[in-house]
């Protein structure tokens, strides 16, 4: 065990205290996201494992087995902070304030030996810089996971298949259609066609902000897949500006049944199933009540 590690081990409590002071005095302290007790517990655990790793004499390679516990802990802390809504700055400052606390202690110890102080501080500096890089990386990864999960959730929530009539399904599409989304739309729609034995599906695109040639291609794919299953597909909710762009872009939708509104698509669907919707005769219905 080298001397610096020994000194730090001995001064563990002082370091922890200084570190906590640094953290608590920081203007960006988020006591709304985390209680001070929790912070203390977290910091103590991290410091303990870091000092243990330092006692091996390894100051450079944070991917060595001695540092496994440290990086794991840091990873957990950063991912947790990412989920709790800490900013990257706050998360990095957590590690950087530890650096300050460690250096303060060393300064105290080695004040008579400037060259030793310089060497040791540089070493520690490098080590903690590496650790803070790990923190940032994991933090971003944690955020990315959150985003991915949300993307999945959004694409599932936003594509409900509604059974509007016996044999008729409607699927309102809201938001832009990209290829991943089209996949989900197709899967949901086709599965629902099988489950309900429906022979007509209405795709309502009133909620699609713009239709370019790519979106149109996705729509055509969905219609073709529906037809392969043996059901017919009607596209409704085509607004004036969408009709304009479709024609300007030269997209051919002539093989597809299109309607301006969901109501007229439903009307067409009724016709295809030989159904008729009629207004009740007033006289007859009043007679029922007599």
């Amino acid at each position: 065990m080298n001397t610096t590690a020994q000194i730090l081990q001995k001064k563990k409590n002082t370091i922890l205290e200084t570190w906590m002071q640094h953290q608590l005095s920081d203007a960006t302290l988020r006591d709304d996201l985390m209680t001070n007790d929790e912070l203390l517990k977290q910091s103590e655990e991290l410091l303990g494992s870091l000092l243990k790793a330092l006692s091996s004499g390894n100051y450079e390679n944070i991917y060595a087995s001695e540092y496994e516990q440290v990086t794991d802990l840091l990873g957990d802390i950063s991912i947790m902070r990412a989920r709790q809504g800490f900013s990257p700055r706050e998360t990095t400052l957590y590690v950087l304030s530890l650096k300050k606390a460690l250096c303060d202690t060393l300064e105290e110890e080695y004040k008579d030996q400037p060259e030793v102080l310089y060497r040791e501080v540089m070493q520690l500096n490098q080590l903690l810089d590496n650790l803070s890089l790990v923190t940032v990386e994991t933090f971003i990864k944690g955020r990315e996971e959150v985003i991915l999960r949300q993307t999945d959730e959004i694409s599932e929530i936003s594509t409900p298949v509604i059974r509007v009539w016996d044999g008729i399904l409607a699927l309102p599409i809201i938001g832009t259609l990209d290829s991943a989304r089209t996949q989900v739309v197709m899967e949901n729609l086709l599965q629902e066609i099988v489950n309900t034995g429906s022979s007509i599906a209405i795709l309502d695109i009133s909620g699609v902000p713009a239709v370019d040639s790519l979106v149109a291609q996705h729509l055509i794919k969905t219609v073709s897949a529906t037809r392969l299953m043996g059901a017919e597909c009607i596209i409704s909710g085509i607004r004036a500006e969408i009709a304009q762009t479709i024609v300007h872009l030269g997209i051919d939708l002539s093989n597809i049944k299109t309607k301006a509104s969901l109501a007229s698509a439903l009307h067409l669907a009724f016709g295809m199933l030989n159904l008729e919707v009629r207004r009740n005769d007033r006289n007859k219905s009043t007679k029922l009540f007599n």
Partner: protein, 135 residues
């Protein structure tokens, strides 16, 4: 040699594919079906593929061939029960089975064939009547 059985139901032929087809079996099916159409004078062919999990371009081409050949011999072809995953894959592959009628299940397929043939028969009767009137 292994063969896919072909059932005759009234004016229609019914085929249910229960196994993953390897190429020779598919080609045999094509031959058998077409010779059955010509032998029985069937007016419709119904192919149930609800148990088929993979349709590649070769299988797609066989289905298309059966439909076009039958049409020349005055019989319509309906493919029924395609699985959603298969339909999505075929569309992505660029194969839309042009000229093949599709239906959700055997029952709906039969209905479809009946309307196609029924319209045909009605048109023929009308033509006969007109000819009689002309005489």
């Amino acid at each position: 040699m292994e063969r896919i059985p072909i059932l005759k139901m009234g004016p229609f032929l019914l085929v249910t594919i229960q196994v993953d087809l390897y190429d020779r079996l598919a080609l045999t099916l094509e031959n058998d079906l077409i010779s059955m159409v010509s032998k029985t004078g069937a007016r419709g062919v119904l192919i149930d593929i609800s148990a088929v999990s993979i349709v590649d371009s070769f299988m797609g081409r066989i289905l298309g061939n059966i439909a076009s050949m039958s049409r020349i011999m005055d019989a319509e072809t309906v493919v029924v029960g395609m699985q959603p995953a298969v339909a999505i894959t075929l569309v992505e592959l660029g194969l839309t089975l042009q000229g093949v009628y599709t239906a959700l299940n055997v029952e709906k397929g039969m209905e479809l064939l009946n309307t196609k043939i029924g319209l045909d028969l009605a048109a023929e009767e009308e033509k006969d009547e007109q000819e009689e009137e002309a005489e």
